[in-house]
């Protein structure tokens, strides 16, 4: 396997990991398990409701910056950065 293929594989692994989190916080916590999570509270918010209307959005933002940071690392590691 050449360098570009290894880089691509590392990229795919990272994307899959990030998308699992993406799915878990929105479709998981915000929709599929919302009623179970609503038994817990975060201040005046029921937890599932908080994930659906607040939490998932904050995590989306963090996730994109994490992805961008890790990709920049991978670009350097595999020496495929732009000039």
């Amino acid at each position: 396997m050449n360098n570009a293929q290894k880089y691509w594989q590392a990229n795919i692994r990272l994307v899959i990991g990030c998308l699992l989190v993406w799915f878990f916080v929105s479709f998981g916590c915000g929709i599929l398990f919302v009623n179970q999570l609503n038994a817990f509270h975060l201040g005046g918010y029921q937890l599932g409701f908080w994930f659906a209307q607040q939490g998932s959005i904050y995590i989306f933002v963090a996730l994109i910056f994490f992805y961008a940071w890790r990709m920049n690392q991978l670009d350097r590691k595999f020496n495929v950065e732009e000039a």
Partner: protein, 624 residues
């Protein structure tokens, strides 16, 4: 002229002067600057412009109203319209930036080495963008007519003129810098009233925290608990409880996410940054700026619902003194009644207003009135009214002497616009909200018009019809196409087809079921060939169109609908607006099946795919 109107004219006029000034300073000199701003926009600024581009009149005006009335179920819009940016950042944006051309159809046409694929993409793009822009034009007209008390048409013409000057002159470069200014105006206009209202209700100035806090008036009761209790007392579903089916909420969220990532005017924004790594972070910055509004909206919605309910239900439910009297209703109610977006009817003649859920009685009565007026099936409508009123007679509300919900009309869209008036905020805040709503509509309209004009001049004209034209001719063609698109959008805004509200589902359905899967497979599946991609796009597009038309009528002509548009008739309870995700799935399945039986793409295409996967070697703007 009232003080409020003078303030509004000053604030809105000042923002317009700013937009025009920016357009003059930053006007485009070549096609690179016209289509993609010369790829020199800093990622943070590009993120801000993307935010303004993305947040339309629907986000600014309608979303909080949908939350106020829908409660938990409207979360699908919050998650759907933000989660799509994760898909965009990780699956599309960096690779399209590496590819380094101007438009979405250009990528699809080159990657699938097929003019047919390019044409399908152009058609999807134009339909999706044009249907979207009609709503913006209408929003501009409404905002003008409400706040500056000029006719709807005049407001629309002023809006068209402003967009014309800065989009035609400035192209992407001018539009981008104007959108940065518009973002500042709209976010300020959205958050200032929210901060005031949160402070009034909970003592916490941060709306996101205020929504999870205790009420400053009550004895330590949480705002959301209080809201749940009061709406349940009035017969509505609890605000935080789920009403629709889980499957439908799931698919609606998924459709909106994929659709967001597939909307061409959003994708194009990521062609404007200097480097591949900037495309990744720029999506993050865009979402930061969008999240500021989207995390504030739930507070605005819930607090508006609480304020509205408390204004009408002033005391104990059922006690004669517990309701607002008709003659004492505040000025903002009078103002909105004039627009027809808010309506009352004292059904039991007690001089008070009762706002509660009468379990469909009012809706049945309204249907009966329509049937009488338009010669429908009166007997069937009468039977429904009898059934509903028999049910109502057994409810606790009948024993209070109530005879049906007396708030006969409350339009979702008034929630954000009336909010500062409900909370009795100063005039400059109300004027600011008007300027913010107009900024949101203008910025989105400009982005969409740019996407339409570039696909006409660059893809259709230069790419397919007149291949030999030079840069200067193409730029002129782009400007003419833009002017033409503004006139068409303005005309449709003045004479909105009856389906203006439903077409949003269509725009997202098309983007989700055709554009997103095609681009994604083009990047991630090296083996995908032209036959697979074209069949996939047609399958996604066709199934989604068929499903929407089945319930909404073919070409949205209601009489041609094949089945009534309600949950009982939907396939597995999937609403037409949620079908885009299913269409996308069909697209993937068909594309993989067809491509596995047909020839692999040629060598040079496989090299192209390998090339866009690594950032190294991305150049500046290329023009064939």
């Amino acid at each position: 002229m009232t003080d409020l109107m003078i303030t509004t004219y000053i604030v809105v006029g000042a923002t317009f002067a700013l937009y025009l000034y920016i357009a003059l300073v930053t006007r485009a000199k070549n096609t690179g600057e016209f289509y993609v701003a010369g790829k020199g926009i800093h990622p943070v600024l590009n993120g801000m412009a993307t935010g303004a581009d993305w947040m339309s009149a629907a986000s600014f005006i309608s979303m909080a109203g949908m939350l106020a009335m829908g409660g938990y179920d409207a979360s699908a819009y919050l998650m759907g319209w933000t989660g799509g940016y994760c898909l965009l950042a990780m699956l599309l944006a960096p690779y399209l930036r590496k590819y380094g051309k101007f438009t979405v159809p250009e990528f699809i046409g080159d990657r699938f080495y097929s003019q047919t694929a390019r044409l399908v993409a152009i058609v999807c793009l134009i339909i999706a963008s044009l249907t979207y822009v009609i709503g913006q034009m209408k929003g501009i007209g409404v905002a003008f007519s409400r706040f500056m008390e000029i006719p709807f048409e005049t407001g629309l013409f002023i809006g068209m003129g402003i967009v014309f000057v800065y989009a035609v002159l400035g192209g992407m470069k001018g539009v981008t810098y104007t959108q940065i200014a518009q973002y500042v105006v709209l976010i300020f206009a959205y958050t200032v009233p929210a901060v005031f209202i949160s402070l009034q209700l909970t003592g916490n100035p941060i709306p996101q925290l205020g929504l999870g806090s205790t009420l400053s008036s009550g004895d330590g009761i949480y705002l959301l608990d209080k809201l749940d209790k009061i709406v349940v007392d009035l017969g509505f579903n609890a605000y935080t409880a789920q009403k629709g089916s889980t499957l439908n909420i799931f698919l609606l969220t998924m459709s909106l996410m994929i659709g967001t990532a597939g909307l061409p005017h959003v994708i194009t924004r990521f062609f404007t940054v200097p480097k591949v790594k900037d495309a990744r972070s720029s999506a993050g910055w865009a979402l930061v700026f969008i999240a500021i509004l989207y995390t504030t909206a739930p507070s605005v919605g819930a607090m508006a619902r609480l304020n509205l309910t408390n204004t009408i239900q002033t005391g104990e439910v059922g006690s004669p003194e517990g309701n607002l009297s008709f003659d004492a209703r505040p000025q903002w109610m009078h103002n909105w009644e004039k627009t027809g977006l808010l309506g009352f009817d004292d059904k039991n003649g007690d001089g008070k207003i009762q706002y509660y859920s009468d379990n469909g009685l009012s809706a049945a009565e309204a249907d009966l009135a329509t049937a009488r007026k338009e010669g429908g099936n009166v007997a069937a409508a009468q039977a429904k009214v009898d059934e509903a009123s028999a049910k109502h007679a057994e409810s606790k509300f009948a024993s209070f002497g109530w005879k049906g919900n007396e708030v006969t009309k409350v339009d979702n869209d008034i929630m954000v616009l009336a909010n500062p008036e409900i909370a009795k905020l100063p005039n400059w805040v109300i004027a600011l909200v008007a300027a913010g709503g107009i900024a949101a509509a203008l910025s989105t309209a400009a982005g969409l018009l740019l996407a339409i004009s570039s696909s006409i001049s660059h893809d259709l004209l230069k790419g397919m019809i007149a291949k030999g034209i030079n840069d200067k001719t193409e730029l002129l063609a782009g400007r003419i196409a833009m002017a033409f698109a503004i006139i068409v959008a303005g005309y449709l805004g003045l004479n909105p087809p009856g389906f203006a509200a439903q077409v949003v589902a269509l725009a997202f359905g098309l983007a989700a079921s055709s554009i997103f899967p095609a681009i994604m497979m083009g990047i991630f599946v090296k083996r995908m060939n032209s036959a697979g991609a074209i069949c996939g796009m047609l399958a996604g597009l066709g199934s989604t169109l068929l499903y929407i038309f089945w319930y909404k009528g073919f070409m949205f002509i209601p009489s041609t609908a094949m089945a009534p548009d309600n949950a009982a008739n939907w396939l597995l309870g999937i609403s037409p607006g949620s079908f885009g995700a299913v269409g996308a799935l069909l697209n993937f399945v068909v594309a993989f099946t067809v491509s596995s039986f047909t020839k692999a793409p040629p060598e040079h295409i496989q090299h192209l795919v390998e090339d866009i996967r690594v950032p190294m070697g991305a150049g500046a703007a290329q023009n064939h």
